[in-house]
């Protein structure tokens, strides 16, 4: 039994929409970071889905481009998370807040 790739694309789209909605609407920095992770993983999922689609289309010969891209994205996402969380900690130490609304000093 196998899940058809189209279903995977739908899940990826849903994940991305949830991530994007959270990114635009939430004020908590940690939640925003999590939403970014969601969007990245939605992208990963669609890479894998596309890879699977290609594999099926070529008679079972595995297509490795998609998984490798996904691997790269995971690495970058880990780095991004590390830097982002470090920034959040620094921010909290200085301002005792993690709300994005309260940090706009560089605006003007």
């Amino acid at each position: 039994m196998s899940v058809p790739p189209s279903h995977l694309f739908v899940v990826a789209a849903l994940l991305f929409s949830i991530g994007a909605a959270g990114f635009f609407l939430r004020r908590n920095v940690i939640v925003v970071l999590m939403c970014i992770e969601l969007m990245l993983n939605a992208a990963n999922l669609s890479f894998l889905a596309a890879s699977r689609m290609h594999t099926l289309a070529h008679g079972g010969q595995p297509d490795l481009q998609g998984p490798i891209f996904a691997l790269f994205v995971i690495v970058i996402a880990a780095v991004e998370a590390a830097v982002g969380l470090a920034l959040v900690i620094a921010l909290y130490r200085n301002k005792q807040t993690v709300s994005l609304d309260e940090v706009a000093e560089l605006k003007d």
């Binding site: 990114f23 635009f24 925003v32 994005l100 609304d101 940090v103 706009a104 560089l106 605006k107 003007d108």
Partner: protein, 691 residues
Amino acid sequence: MPPTQADLVWMWWIPLLPLIGSAVCGILHLLTLRSRGAWAHKAGGHGHGHDHGHDDAGHADHDHASVEAGIGALAYPVAVLAMAVSFVLALAAVVQLGSLSDIAVSIEGPAWQWIDTGVFPIDISIVIDRLSAVMVLIVTGVGLLIHVYAGGYMKGDPGFAKFFAYLNLFVFAMLMLVLSSNLVGLFVGWEGVGLCSYLLIGFWYEKGWPAEAGQKAFVMNRIGDACFLVGSFLLVHLFGTLDLSDIAGSVAGKLSSDPGAQFELLIAGLCLFGGACGKSAQFPLFTWLPDAMAGPTPVSALIHAATMVTAGVYLLVRLNPLFAANPTLMFVIACVGALTAFIAGTTALVQRDIKKVLAYSTVSQLGYMFLALGTGAFASAIFHLATHAFFKALLFLGAGSVIHGMHHEQDMHKMGNLRRYMPQTFLTFVVGAAALSGLPLMSGFFSKDEILAHTFARGGGYYALWLIGIVTAALTAFYTWRMVALTFFGPERFDKAKFQPHESSSLMTLPLLVLAALAILGGALSFPAVFPAFLQPEYMHDWLRPVTEPGVELLGAAHPLPHSTEWILLALGALVALVFAHTAFHRFKHGPQTDLATFERSPLRARFLSEAWGIDALYTRFVVGPVRVLGLVVAALIDGTLIDGFVNGAAQAALSGGMRLRRMTSGSIATYGLWMGAVTALIAILLVWNR
């Protein structure tokens, strides 16, 4: 056997020594400035008991002068030594030149290629022929004496070392001018002496008006220099070479092979003559020279009497065939010379400032030289140049001694009876005055008479110029002896309670004595043709023959005057000089009453004369004024509206654009994300679109 170029490397030391001296003096000046700063810092306001030797009222900063006794004073021996060695070398070079059997030969130092234009190379090269020999001896010889003198005159000045740096640099430039074998080197020297003249006129710039006088001299000279450059370009175009002797030698051939070149030659000659007019202060560009008296007196003696202002005469003699090719041009030169001599002579009659009298007298004597050039008597012009260098340097240095002894008083109406206080200055000054006014047997008598005789011999329109010349000779005798009478005779018109006039130090009187001897004996360079043969009459003509021959041939020699006529002219010259010298002396020996009466009787005429026929006022009205208005218009319209508008507009656009763009920086991450997403989407769409 003529020496080869490689043997003559030492010739380069003639101009290079003053250049090195100048650099050393400049460094000494910088060191002085440094130690002065340190001294002022340490000593603060604490007084300094030091005798300045003399009280120069015009110089700023007496407290600092005492520091000069230190390192800056070294500039004096350095500069004098450089000049002395340079003079000895020049003498050696001229002796070597004189010993050559072929009189047309010149000795040439090794040359270096400077610029290769692709069409012809431009060399740095020096050459001594019979003309530059005379000039080099005058420049280094008189220059040496004036350097010696300046050590006394400038003593205690805060810019002592700087002064000698400039003075030595001037000598270098002047030597390059007279030694260079091509037009470019000559032009380098030409501009170099102009620069040094500017620097030295404005030497006491903190007083204000010397700086302005320096600027005036510089700008007036630029007018002439522009003409000079255009003339040089034409010469290169016509002859395809920059070598001065090549150009001079090929004028006659050019004329016979290509008659159409006549017009271009005329224009080139006119342009070079214009350049000479600027440098040698001829009508109508002479107004800078009287103002140049704002410089220290040794500068007036060296630059504005003996050497730099004669550069124009040198140039015309050097390229004499170019001018001689066109008799009309020659007549124009003679007319300009005579007119300048006359205007300046009349102006000198009513000056009260002793240096102004000498300045106008210099202009007048330069006019004589140009009159001589215009008659084709090139050697006479050089002869007068030499004697004038002796006696006018003497007079200027004498005047400097008077000014020095009078504590910077230059108004002759406030002098009088100085012969009691400064006997040596008085004696030498009288010798100089006698030479200038052409009293019989003095050097000026022979050189002036030679010019007048040659003018007379030309005949035709030149008779009128001769008449102007003899009238100017009368004027010369008059103003010279008026100056002597007002300065050294009559009642004392200064406040003896304030200061006591004193004789200058021997450092200053020694050059006076040497120059006085030269002013008396200088006539021996070229006795009148009617003198007995053992005196070698017209020696200067024989000496310069290789240089002047081509020009004289082109113009055609004048009929030699019969001996009786020449004797009559000689006697007439002597009579005129004696009568007018005598009249002036007796009119002014009791004080300046006659002057004051002249001013009272017809103030308009007196003002007209004293302001050099109002030529300066004309310039102010018709040149300076319009140029100033034009400058204002350009400043307001072109600079203010157009250029500033463009620049300010660009700045304004950047500013307002930035103000608009900064609204993008809202501070909300979500907005940034939106922008990012939107732009990414846009790029994606474009990529897909263009597939």
